[in-house]
């Protein structure tokens, strides 16, 4: 009992500390899973926070919060200390966010990449990164000389499989002879292993390297070996200025600013957001001039068409590896199918690890 008393006492002191510099202003809180300097996932969320701050709204953030019991404590503390809107930016914060939301009906919650909205004050949001993969596939199909694209994959979840499929479909369209070689590394983040995977793919004849892992090691390996590569999550150009053709950039800033302003002005409502190139949540890094002016123009047009909805990454007919039809001719894949994607499309080699 005394233990609990001390806990309350300590939180009370913290509360006091927070409330001293808060006054009655509108405040937004952010919870990060990694350090702000990871140069990947959390780094980009932090950029989003900076944009909210630049829009004149007060923010606080807590970094390196482990998913689990700690997360709930941190989220609760943010809610208690007068934050009106809280962004929880990792999949594992899903349950803690909903739990805290129940106790604080007046605080708004935004959970990234999750699907649970158990209370009316919880929204979810994610990005259509696969649209970026379509552009990468188009570029890769045009740039490869060996007709072999190397893909470093992390874990066999729909998000990753969707990326592989989107890329392969786009590459096949411009180059029917294309082969996608995939190496699963079973980690989001192990620079040494990612570098080895990139090197193995290069040794196996891949002259374009693509990654769905977080470190900059693969692009550096590609730079050393003199093959093409693409940046992931943030603009990685300075790590491999010659090799990187473009990067897929997660840009949370516009969404964060829009939602923060909505919450401040009272127009916030619950929603499930899945934004892409159109809204700017997925953005592309600068295109390498080595692509040639024609290809750059082509890709920029495709980017526009994807954004306007004229072109969809998954337009039928799409077949799975065995030749069964997945998406009928003239149709596009619906969001439900995209969200649960668990088979390779025709043309991808190998099996998905189970």
């Amino acid at each position: 009992m005394y233990k609990n008393f001390f806990r309350y006492l300590i939180s009370a002191i913290f509360l006091l500390g927070f409330s001293v510099n808060s006054n009655a202003d509108f405040k937004v809180g952010f919870v990060y899973v990694g350090p702000t300097g990871d140069h990947g996932w959390t780094f980009q969320h932090h950029e989003g926070r900076n944009a909210v701050e630049a829009a004149g709204i007060k923010t606080t953030f807590v970094e390196s919060v482990p998913e689990g019991a700690d997360a709930e404590r941190v989220i609760r503390q943010l809610a208690q200390s007068g934050h009106d809107l809280i962004f929880t930016t990792s999949f594992g914060y899903m349950d803690p966010t909903n739990k805290v939301a129940k106790d604080f009906p007046n605080v708004k919650f935004e959970h990234a990449t999750g699907y649970k909205r158990e209370h009316s004050n919880v929204s979810t949001y994610s990005a259509r990164f696969y649209e970026g993969r379509t552009l990468l596939g188009h570029i890769a199909g045009k740039m490869t000389k060996t007709n072999t694209i190397g893909y470093i994959a992390s874990f066999p979840i729909p998000e990753v499989i969707r990326g592989i499929n989107a890329m392969t479909l786009a590459a096949q369209k411009v180059n029917p002879n294309i082969k996608t070689k995939i190496v699963w590394v079973f980690t989001w983040y192990d620079p040494g292993k990612e570098a080895e995977a990139a090197q193995a793919l290069i040794d196996q004849g891949a002259d374009v390297i693509m990654q769905h892992t977080d470190s900059t090691a693969p692009v550096q390996t590609a730079e050393k070996a003199g093959v093409w590569s693409f940046g992931q999550a943030s603009d990685m150009q300075r790590f491999a200025p010659k090799s990187i053709l473009t990067s897929i950039i997660d840009d949370w800033a516009p969404y964060y600013v829009e939602r923060a302003i909505a919450a401040r002005d009272g127009s916030w409502n619950q929603q499930d957001t899945w934004h892409g190139l159109k809204e700017g949540m997925v953005a592309m890094g600068p295109y390498n001039s080595a692509m040639g002016a024609d290809l750059v123009k082509e890709v920029e047009q495709l980017q526009k068409d994807l954004a306007s909805g004229k072109v969809h990454s998954f337009t039928g007919p799409i077949y799975d590896q065995k030749g069964n039809i997945l998406v009928a001719e003239g149709k596009v894949a619906d969001d439900g199918m995209l969200a649960g994607m668990s088979v390779y499309v025709k043309g991808v080699e190998g099996d998905i690890p189970k």
Partner: protein, 310 residues
């Protein structure tokens, strides 16, 4: 798969490069353990070496200072371990674990401002010979100086332990500190030296990752290699040459399994991922079956606290 001879040469070259951190860290830890000290802080010392090396490279722009600095940082952090276990007589296992946790946390804090900075290219030796000689070129040439050092180290360590008087002292201290002490050997000093040497090698192993192998700093970039090095020492039954063999097998299978995936072998990927661990253990167990030799090499008083009665 293009199985021509020059491709195999390139493959062997990259296998060698990937096993360097394991060889360095395991060789260092081997000396520490032969003196009877079990330091589980290898991972922590490596990560401290990685950030120190990288930070010094960014600040001074001098790779020599960076390499030496990383070794020094390993020495300093292992000094904490030495002081706790040798002077304050704390438990080796608990202190070593604490050292790893401390090292990971401290490196993350120190590294805050060094994330996202591209590394500098590390000079490689004989790069022209690498291109001009098929097969042997990529194996023997075009590596960094640290790699050559790492491959000489197990042989030097072997020579040191078996043929020199100091090596005998280290082994005596590890086998029977009481007898060694009675012979007039200062057990604590010897153990301190072995701990610091282990720290220096682990620091260098970390710097190899952050300066040469994947030139950049990211939190937790050693990703468990310290633990593998620790396991290697045990499975190699404290023999430096077997540590080298184990590290090469581990690195080799890791890279081969990536190649097998890229080629499209229909073997479950999870099995391939587990293969380096399995194969290393199997091979090392098979080559060290001789129980007489194991007894000879095992530091009998490993992990036991020694204090001199006054």
């Amino acid at each position: 798969m293009t199985l021509d001879i020059s491709f195999i040469g390139i493959l062997i070259g990259s296998i060698m490069a990937s096993s360097v951190p394991l060889i360095l860290a395991a060789s260092g830890e081997l000396i520490t353990e032969r003196s009877g000290v079990l330091n589980l802080g290898v991972e922590g010392m490596m990560i401290i070496g990685a950030i120190s090396g990288f930070a010094l490279m960014v600040i001074t722009d001098n790779l020599f200072i960076a390499i030496v600095g990383s070794m020094l940082s390993g020495v300093i952090i292992s000094l904490i371990f030495g002081f706790l276990t040798q002077s304050l007589l704390t438990n080796h296992v608990a202190t070593g674990l604490a050292l790893t946790i401390f090292g990971i946390g401290l490196s993350a804090m120190l590294g805050k401002n060094f994330v996202g900075i591209p590394g500098k290219e590390f000079p490689i030796l004989f790069s022209s010979l690498r291109e001009s000689i098929p097969f042997f070129g990529p194996i023997l040439f075009g590596h960094s100086i640290v790699l050559y050092f790492a491959f000489a180290l197990p042989f030097l360590t072997n020579y040191f332990l078996k043929k020199t008087k100091l090596g005998l002292v280290v082994r005596a201290v590890g086998d029977s500190p009481v007898s060694a002490s009675n012979q007039g050997i200062n057990v604590i000093i010897v153990r301190y030296c072995c701990i610091l040497y282990g720290g220096a090698m682990c620091g260098l192993a970390g710097a190899y990752l952050s300066l040469i192998y994947t030139p950049q700093w990211i939190e937790n970039m050693t990703a468990g290699r310290g633990w593998i090095a620790l396991a290697l020492v045990v499975f190699a039954t404290w023999s430096p040459i077997k540590v080298l063999i184990g590290a090469l097998i581990f690195g080799g299978i890791t890279i081969l399994q990536l190649h097998m995936q890229a080629i499209g072998f229909r073997i479950p990927v999870q099995f391939l991922s587990a293969l380096p661990y399995l194969m290393t253990i199997i091979v090392l167990v098979v080559i060290s079956r001789d129980s007489r030799k194991i007894k000879l090499n095992t530091p009998t008083s490993l992990g036991r606290i020694f204090y001199k009665e006054k």
